[in-house]
């Protein structure tokens, strides 16, 4: 491996039961270098590799089995300056002010869940941290959530822990990906998850704190500390917070939750491993074909993972664009098919190295026409994998959200401990 990945590798080999795994460390990078330079780096560690394959493994030191204390006594003179410094030194926060997770606040937050504090919701990669209700609550307090938000967070943790979501890949990758929470159903309005104008920005709604709590959970329970474990080259602002609701009243089509078979009265949380949204500005098209054409040519970017992974590229249509498309009789499935068929990238737009090293290796069937000069590359394996939502407010803008690719979105109902759906009247 190369040096920047050593800490992550050591942590993971320990988590998965091989703490004395042997490694040869090379200077970074290997990717992107001409092959002779790669070979030179490998040759430099060849003898080390042979030695480490043929000598006895070092003995694993026996660690004292002392569970880290769940409760910490903190002696601070100033609640804000000293306490915030304490949080940052421990790596608990995101660099902004965090609410102290006191006994009273955590207890109130636990109360909002309906579960006992030691109930285990899931384990979260890469640390395989055990996400109890109390720990989710502590993170929710720090992020600024209210107790009523706990059911959403529990559903989100369950969703991210599912194998198809690939949280392990998402947490450690160099790619700029963050789990995006999409809320559907009546609880969106009840719990203050905004779906209209400015939904991805600041405002008097709960999107910010709920998305922030997800990040705190991933940081503190999942263990993806930035730089050391979370290897994002740059990341994106959604790694601070990334939460929205679908604008169901403004949509001409059934909701994402309805598409996935949930009853109208059941609220859901869908988690997707998403890049930052990219604007599609079309103030001028007056017909479906025009709006869709503008969408196609905005979303056909070469530098996205949906090109070479079996993912779910996502189009978030603003209500006005959606109305223009729907008034000509397009269903959501028609839009998905159109994107799959028409939003394609000429293979000639990719570098030879990309084609050779990545595209044809990862998805040989998608690139089976590799040698044709007119080969065109779709953004998904099949039209059903394209996701289409409606959100936002006034204005002629839509958004394209590429995904990590090596992930499938997961939708979970927001349920009480007895398995029945949480309803708005439960929060009065």
């Amino acid at each position: 491996m190369t040096a920047p990945f050593t800490a992550l590798a050591r942590n993971q080999s320990k988590v998965f039961g091989l703490p004395n795994m042997q490694a040869a460390i090379m200077p970074h990078p290997l990717g992107g270098l001409p092959v002779p330079q790669v070979i030179a780096k490998v040759d430099a560690v060849f003898d080390e590799i042979v030695a480490k394959l043929t000598r006895p493994l070092p003995k694993v030191p026996v660690e004292a089995k002392l569970a880290k204390s769940l409760w910490v006594e903190v002696d601070v003179k100033d609640e804000w300056d000293d306490l915030q410094k304490f949080f940052m030194e421990r790596g608990w926060g995101d660099g902004m002010l965090a609410m102290p997770p006191t006994e009273a606040r955590v207890a109130a937050m636990v109360g909002g869940s309906g579960f006992p504090p030691n109930h285990v919701v899931a384990t979260l990669a890469p640390k395989m941290g055990v996400a109890t209700i109390e720990l989710i609550a502590a993170n929710a307090v720090m992020a600024g959530c209210k107790p009523m938000h706990m059911p959403l967070l529990i559903a989100a943790v369950q969703a991210m822990a599912e194998e198809q979501f690939n949280l392990y890949g998402i947490q450690g990758t160099t790619h700029p990906v963050s789990p995006l929470m999409i809320v559907n159903g009546p609880l969106a309005a009840t719990l203050g998850i905004h779906s209209g104008s400015g939904l991805f920005g600041p405002g008097p709604w709960s999107n910010g704190v709920v998305g922030r709590a997800i990040r705190f959970i991933l940081l503190n329970i999942g263990g993806a500390k930035p730089v050391e474990m979370d290897k994002a080259t740059m990341g994106h602002p959604g790694k601070y917070t990334y939460c929205m609701a679908e604008n169901e009243p403004a949509s001409p089509w059934p909701s994402l939750a309805a598409d996935r078979g949930f009853d109208p009265g059941v609220s859901t949380v869908t988690m997707t491993g998403s890049e930052a949204p990219h604007n599609i500005n079309d103030h001028d098209s007056t017909c479906a074909g025009g709006v869709l054409l503008m969408c196609f040519h905005t979303i056909t970017e070469t530098g996205q993972n949906n090109v070479n992974h079996p993912g779910e590229p996502m189009l978030i249509l603003g209500p006005e664009h959606a109305a223009t498309i729907a008034k000509e009789g397009y269903t959501k499935d028609d839009v998905k098919r159109a994107i799959y068929e028409e939003a394609r990238i000429p293979l000639t737009y990719f570098s030879e190295e990309q084609i050779e090293r990545r595209l044809t290796r990862y998805l040989p069937k998608r690139f089976k026409d590799r040698h044709r000069s007119d080969a065109m590359v779709p953004l998904a394996q099949r039209w059903e994998d394209v996701m289409v939502l409606v959100a936002g407010g006034t204005g002629k803008h839509s958004m394209y959200v590429p995904t990590f690719g090596s992930t499938r979105s997961v939708t979970r109902a927001v349920l009480k401990p007895d398995g029945t759906p949480w309803k708005p009247e439960d929060f009065k």
């Binding site: 491996m1 920047p4 990945f5 590798a9 988590v15 998965f16 039961g17 703490p19 004395n20 490694a23 970074h28 990078p29 290997l30 990717g31 070979i39 040759d43 042979v50 394959l53 043929t54 000598r55 006895p56 493994l57 880290k68 769940l70 409760w71 910490v72 006594e73 903190v74 002696d75 601070v76 609640e79 421990r90 102290p100 997770p101 006191t102 955590v106 979260l124 941290g129 055990v130 996400a131 720990l135 609550a137 502590a138 993170n139 307090v141 720090m142 690939n166 392990y168 990758t173 503190n220 329970i221 263990g223 290897k231 992974h309 090293r357 290796r361 990590f404 690719g405 090596s406 992930t407």
Partner: protein, 93 residues
């Protein structure tokens, strides 16, 4: 002030019984698990060539993941276990 630490404890790892280390690779089966991050295939191929030059009779066995960001499957790991005496893989970029 008493605060609840937001950090989780990890599940204790399962006990791993490691394979005995060989004293030499001569005549052994060397596995290569390609994580598919370019240029892993070039790295593995070069190591394979050099190991064969250094250790007569060494054989190679290749397994490639389907993508860099997903784990090797249980089937892949089982095939490495059955067909190799030692395994080399790459991590990260």
């Amino acid at each position: 002030m008493k605060l609840c630490s937001p950090e989780a404890q990890a599940l204790p790892p399962s006990n791993f019984k490691t394979a005995p280390r060989p004293e030499t690779l001569a005549g052994l089966r060397v596995g290569f698990l390609d994580n598919t991050k370019p240029p892993a295939d070039k790295v593995m191929a070069h190591l394979d060539q050099r190991l064969r030059e250094r250790f007569p009779g060494a054989q190679s066995f290749y397994v490639s993941k389907t993508a860099a960001s997903v784990p090797a499957t249980a089937e892949m790991m089982q095939s490495l276990k059955l067909n190799c005496d030692v395994v080399i893989t790459g991590f990260g970029d």
